[in-house]
Symmetry: D2
């Protein structure tokens, strides 16, 4: 930590700060500046709480230097983490295409979509059995019945299943049926659920909170890892901003930052972030170009009849074409000698 | 719903939209405009899903007219809801001062603070036994041991207890010990917890999500009420913006809007929104001046030793003075003939 | 306009609203809904001011239907506008690469960079002679001396010059020396400067304000076009959000929206939006993948000595490689049968 | 400046950083931390540019310590600045009520309003003769004709005139007619206009940009003061956030921060920030309670006929009542021994 003193701070003020630093078991070093003195704290093993210092006479600001997360950081582990289930992987050389239905509405709708996903060489299938909905009066998902349909998708098409758990009981069930458990944006700081996810034996797909800073997002992952589950996939899904022409504002700059600061893979959800299929397509291409490790995409055989988020689901022909384009872009990015996030 | 057609939409496009509207059981009325035609939908009982219409040829935009919430709305219930427990009330004539400790750290710290709160005529005490913390390595609260200390506060000082439940097991416990159960900002869209709160026999203090729109905030309250618990107190606690000079940006304009649109009381938390005591004081005064029904304030006997959010806790003397000032301001507001939110 | 009445509005209230509508020369149509009545206004030629209606008894809300801009809209002009100067074009089939120096610091630095830009087949050169700086104590540009160096770049390398005008006197000068005049983000609602730009005989590159909505951005373009200058190029440069890991948050979803709503070209500035070269590279690729008509990129022969925004400038070798990659991505996008913005 | 090295930085990396620091004429001090080394720079007179350091091998981050503004800061001048014109003052003991019309629309409307303002003991009158409007098709103000009406207000009622200048020619005119020249939010980073304002002989009322950080806001004031005009009044007018229930989100926390960091007075505009009169009233009270030095309020004799921002203008009776209430609140704040910003 770096403590900046006010210009009018006296020598006594500075001495007092250093005493308090030392009473906490650290060492304090006064560094005189142009108009103000700074006190650098060393000797700490982790993050220092600023509470004891911020109120002392003469203190202007406490600036934290040490990062508050450990297990997610590339400081700890240099090589990139890859999530592997059989032949399917996320974070490896191949772009991970996780496509499927927003909500499992019926066996027919799900199987039709899974068939398309498999036909295009996909290895992952997404589908929601528990849907967190802003309104209590909206369709909330088929629950275990939906999970059973998803398990059938795995059996029939060999696709790996990604599905959301909205609470502890749902997580218990999901852990039995799914290959990857998703934690949604509205639960991204539901710390009890994060801890429970940390005890699961399945990889966790963690969506960024719609107003999470990068640090908060990484600390949410840290919650999972601190419980012993190191298989975490991050997912950018758009942040809340003043802009209204898109449901959320996709923050693609987070992809290279996550790659720089952590060893975890990060994918992008163009469907929920933008909310309309005309924008899903260009943003999906953009996320691959920026270096995302994969995509999470909604497709629907007849979106005008969808019970949930129909306007954002791609038509089958659109998805077919999109897959071609993003694979071509992924090739360009993979061959790039430039830092690509 | 109001469907705006594109300028180049044909008569056939408009006819097709009206057909689809009618196939959903509603009525469609074409209204020709300057350069574009609109289609008004009537005959619906609640919110209409835009999915069937938004993708039809010639459709430019679907504008929702009906509000998506019912039970919280002032349309349903004209008189203001007041939460009463014994002599203590929130939403009534008297300003509700809910003061106490951010986290229950020890019996001594809690009793000292409760004594001050009671001495100043307060009727409510706040204290956290379960703390949602951004970092997994931070102090997480004393759990049931903390709840017991809070119950002792009630017995000894006659104060009503407000405390947070972070998950279903905590809610079960809290329901036994507390008078009002708080749902925090990070759980404001944890819909499972909201439903569980809706089944509780105690009033719920619901904090606004840090990126919740007014509508999302009201729908979170609707989740609780839809389960049969009509005793809901809303709490503004600052929103996430680009501004960094304050931890969050308190959005005081929401107070008059909540009073206009709903029958629920709304209070303000100056401590967590601003993060530093120098700003807590003026913002507490401002919230009372804007017409808030109460305040939720952190006080601490020795904040430099606080385990959680020390820099925001008021000193005892500051709180004493603040109470005088805000009561005087509350008097001015109460006597005002102006719409005061 | 669509006026939504409150549920408790009386027939008299509705009648009064229709009277006022008619007194303004329009027609009002009452449309009864589930719980509330709406009044549709027709007969208007342009945007209707809501002032006369919003305060009438029983009125809940006024919803605007007609868009407030005209000249920028694709309603007015179906084919896409292309800006052409000799062989250089923006908005046509070829991706427009506008590369160069953030600030013209010296003849040598500018010529070295221009040589690289020309060598890679670029047709446009950017360079700032007037720099809008947040601090009054920062380097403010070489002014006319810088413009002369830029004119020399055009003579020597055949590159077309894009440079910023920060006020009317700078615009007068810039109009003499440059091929395209840039209006920066901090002047995006400097309406006097926009009007002056509308009287210029040169195309205008208009940057989005850092907190401009899409509508405000388009109205800024409308200011220029309303004065008779139809050659406008829009430029996304990142918006202000709560995220701090990037200088601004690039909002790539605006690219397909601009293409849908207007006939104007839109390019992207990855350098100023992200602020660091490691992020410039992936975001430049992303913008091309999303369908932007071009890029505005900072390059520097020795960025560690740059007087302005050095950390964001690409090294020569990085830019060489980037050009290859984005041309390959542009090819994929151009051949796409999908709506690509 | 404090340079944080990466954990894997070598001794050579650290040595190289210190060399570069010294080659810039400063001194560098290596401070070893838990897992990373920091380098503190001393010997600088002002802000240090991070460009030379941020790209060096092993450097993780550059943290600025010295504040970039000087003249506005309370470091420079301890006593609070008060703007005085005759008996009228801003920043002194008395709350400054600057009320009037949003736009001068006619002599009659302006005189009626001025009469009310004077009758209530106000000393300041606001009125716009040049209106910055988002749309080019909206009413842009009466220009010099409006300024003449304002001058008549001063002559007749003894009120001091505050009016906006939107560009240099308007500033020249305004300087002749007005007592205080306002720079609006959309020009808050129009640095040429700020410099021109710095050469004016009249006090400047500077509105915060709708997306300005506190630091950017203070640097805009610094632009004015650096030209020699020390009479600057800051004005908070709401920031752009995701919230849509209010036109902008008033950021009242900035008031105590400005008082802490600078010697300048700061007032609040409840009218433009909220956009509707029902919200203007409570927010005006709140701003006084938070410690603002004054208010800038729109009043209108018949707002339903206003050419500009009618829904936000207070009715005469509302303003009469509001003045009573805020004077009573101001008394409470003035007598407070607490830090009140």
């Amino acid at each position: 930590m770096f403590i900046v003193m006010r210009p009018e701070a006296t020598d006594d003020d500075i001495r007092r700060v250093i005493e308090v630093v030392e009473s906490c078991g650290f060492r304090g070093h006064a560094v005189p500046g142009a108009s103000r003195t700074g006190v650098v704290i060393t000797g700490n093993q982790g993050v220092i709480d600023q509470a004891p210092f911020s109120g002392l006479p003469g203190v202007a600001e406490c600036i934290r230097i040490t990062r508050p997360y450990k297990l997610v950081g590339s400081d700890l582990k240099q090589e990139r983490s890859v999530i592997r289930i059989g032949e399917a992987e996320i974070g490896g050389d191949e772009l991970a295409l996780i496509a499927g239905v927003c909500a499992v509405e019926s066996r027919e709708q799900t199987m039709l979509t899974a068939e398309l996903v498999a036909e295009l060489g996909g290895k992952w299938f997404r589908g929601g059995a528990f849907k967190p909905r802003t309104s209590p009066y909206a369709f909330q998902g088929l629950a275990e019945e939906g999970l059973k349909i998803l398990a059938e998708v795995r059996d029939r098409f060999g696709l790996r299943i990604v599905t959301e758990a909205v609470d502890e009981p749902a997580l218990d069930l999901t852990e039995k049926y799914a290959d990857v458990i998703q934690i949604g944006t509205r639960n991204s700081q539901n710390f009890s659920l994060l801890k429970r996810a940390g005890q699961a034996r399945k990889p966790i797909l963690l969506k960024r909170g719609m107003s999470s800073t990068l640090e908060e997002f990484l600390l949410a992952a840290e919650y999972i890892m601190a419980e012993g589950n190191y298989q975490v996939i991050l997912c950018e899904r758009g942040i809340r901003t003043f802009a209204t022409h898109s449901r959320f504002t996709p923050d693609l700059t987070i992809v290279p930052e996550v790659h720089r600061l952590t060893h975890l893979p990060i994918i992008f959800d163009p469907s929920h972030s933008t909310g309309k299929r005309e924008t899903v397509i260009p943003l999906a291409r953009a996320a691959v170009a920026v270096g995302a490790d994969g995509l999470l995409v909604d497709v629907h055989p007849y979106p005008e009849r969808a019970l949930c988020d129909g306007p954002q689901a791609l038509l089958f022909d659109q998805y077919r074409q999109l897959v071609k384009e993003i694979r071509a872009i992924a090739d360009i990015v993979k061959r790039s000698p430039l830092v690509h996030g």
